[in-house]
């Protein structure tokens, strides 16, 4: 009796370990995550407009159909990235995701406080390698550190009414994302 209870206890403990291990391994093994879905559609280090979701097709689930969306799939191995996104009339936001879809930074047009959102994206190593005086003089320069060398920058512009979607798309079409080679 005690013996079979021990076996059951061992099974439950082991089951817990299996559960935790599979949950933790999921982001590493997922083949249908957002980055994998976007990879074939987006050349690296350039801004690409995504088609709006429809009932028939959507690149990702739970996309907000009221927004025009563009993506810059970045790779920081060649140097830091400069992102310039003009602000649309209604609401524009820029969200940074790691390779594993973790939103590590997001900013909207009001927080950016200008006519365009301008950011420098770099790895912590590239940030540390910046000349010190440059870091000081560029106090108004917004520097974002990416936890991963690859990831996604997602630009979203709201169309408050469906008729304004072309305008939101147009605003995003002017956005650029370019590699800044290290000096």
């Amino acid at each position: 009796m005690i013996r079979s209870l021990l076996w059951i206890l061992a099974a439950i403990l082991l089951g817990g370990i299996v559960h935790l291990a599979t949950v933790l391994a999921m982001p590493q093994t997922a083949t249908e995550d957002a980055y994998s879905r976007l990879s074939p559609l987006t050349p690296v280090n350039s801004v690409v407009a995504l088609p709006s979701p429809t009932a028939k097709s959507a690149i990702m689930p739970f996309m907000d159909p009221a927004f025009a969306t563009a993506v810059c799939r970045y790779d920081l191995r060649g140097g830091s990235i400069k992102l310039i996104a003009p602000v649309s009339q209604a609401y524009t936001s820029v969200t940074f995701y790691t390779r594993k879809s973790i939103a590590y930074y997001a900013i909207n047009d009001r927080a950016a406080g200008r006519h365009s959102i301008e950011l420098d994206l770099m790895t912590p190593e590239q940030h540390a390698a910046l000349p010190e005086d440059e870091d000081v003089t560029a106090a108004d320069r917004l520097i974002i550190e990416s936890p991963s060398t690859m990831g996604l920058i997602v630009l979203r512009a709201l169309a408050p009414e469906p008729g304004l979607l072309p305008m939101a798309r147009q605003a995003l079409a002017a956005a650029t994302c370019s590699v800044q080679p290290a000096q």
Binding site: R3, S4, W7, A10, A11, I12, L13, L14, G15, G16, I17, V18, H19, A21, T22, V23, L24, M26, P27, A30, E32, D33, A34, S36, R37, P53, T54, A55, K56, A58, M60, P61, F62, M63, D64, P65, A66, A90, Y91, S93, T95, F96, Y97, K100, S101, I102, A103, Y104, Y105, A106, N108, R110, A111, L152, R156, L158, A159, P160, E161, P162
Partner: protein, 192 residues
């Protein structure tokens, strides 16, 4: 012999338990730090680096990109205020207060996060386009057949999900009480 049988049995049960629990938590969308307001649930931490392992696994599996914390917050509703499932063959009225936000959108999806086909091509409302009465109040009717006013077509599907997204809002990790963030009520008004 007994040892062999016991360890095989243990391993089998362990695998079933562990994988079963993982499948359940990932398909049900279990995550820590949920913010519940009425029928609505948001996971503010899922839009930041503080995202928990369950939410990480769940978004890796579904392929969605969570709304970033500096962008806004997304509230999901799978049931009405009485706890009944959102059935696309029934009529639901959504009205009341919304928390402070520069803009909001409300979108109707199927449980997998796809938009629902309908003749009007209407899947969502934004805070700007919604029709309000003289007091600025609004009511949305989610129903399979056309309704006057703000009609959100359900397409008659068995289950649907409503997602209320607030953009540029103070609602987030620090929000605790429903007074800070009043959300609209969802009430069923009969089924066809």
């Amino acid at each position: 012999m007994r040892l062999l049988f016991g360890s095989c049995f243990t391993l089998l049960i362990a695998a079933a338990l562990g994988l079963g629990a993982t499948w359940l938590t990932l398909t049900r969308g279990v995550a820590f730090g949920a913010l519940n307001i009425g029928a609505w649930t948001a996971w503010p931490k899922s839009g930041s680096v503080d995202i928990d392992p369950y939410a990480r696994a769940s978004i890796a599996r579904s392929g969605e990109l969570p709304t970033g914390m500096g962008d806004g917050i997304a509230f999901y509703a799978h049931t009405d205020d009485a706890g009944e499932d959102l059935d696309g063959r029934c009529t639901f009225v959504i009205d009341g207060m919304t928390p402070p936000a520069r803009y909001w959108t409300v979108t109707l999806y199927d449980p997998q996060g796809r938009l629902v086909a309908n003749a009007l091509d209407r899947h969502d409302f934004t805070s700007e386009e919604i029709v309000r009465d003289l007091d600025g109040r609004f009511a949305i009717t989610a129903a399979p057949l056309a309704r006057p006013g703000n009609w959100l077509p359900t397409g008659g599907i068995e289950r649907f999900v409503l997602v209320w997204r607030l953009y540029d809002t103070p609602i987030g990790v620090a929000t605790r009480t429903t007074k800070e963030g009043p959300m609209p009520t969802i009430v069923q008004k009969g089924c066809s």
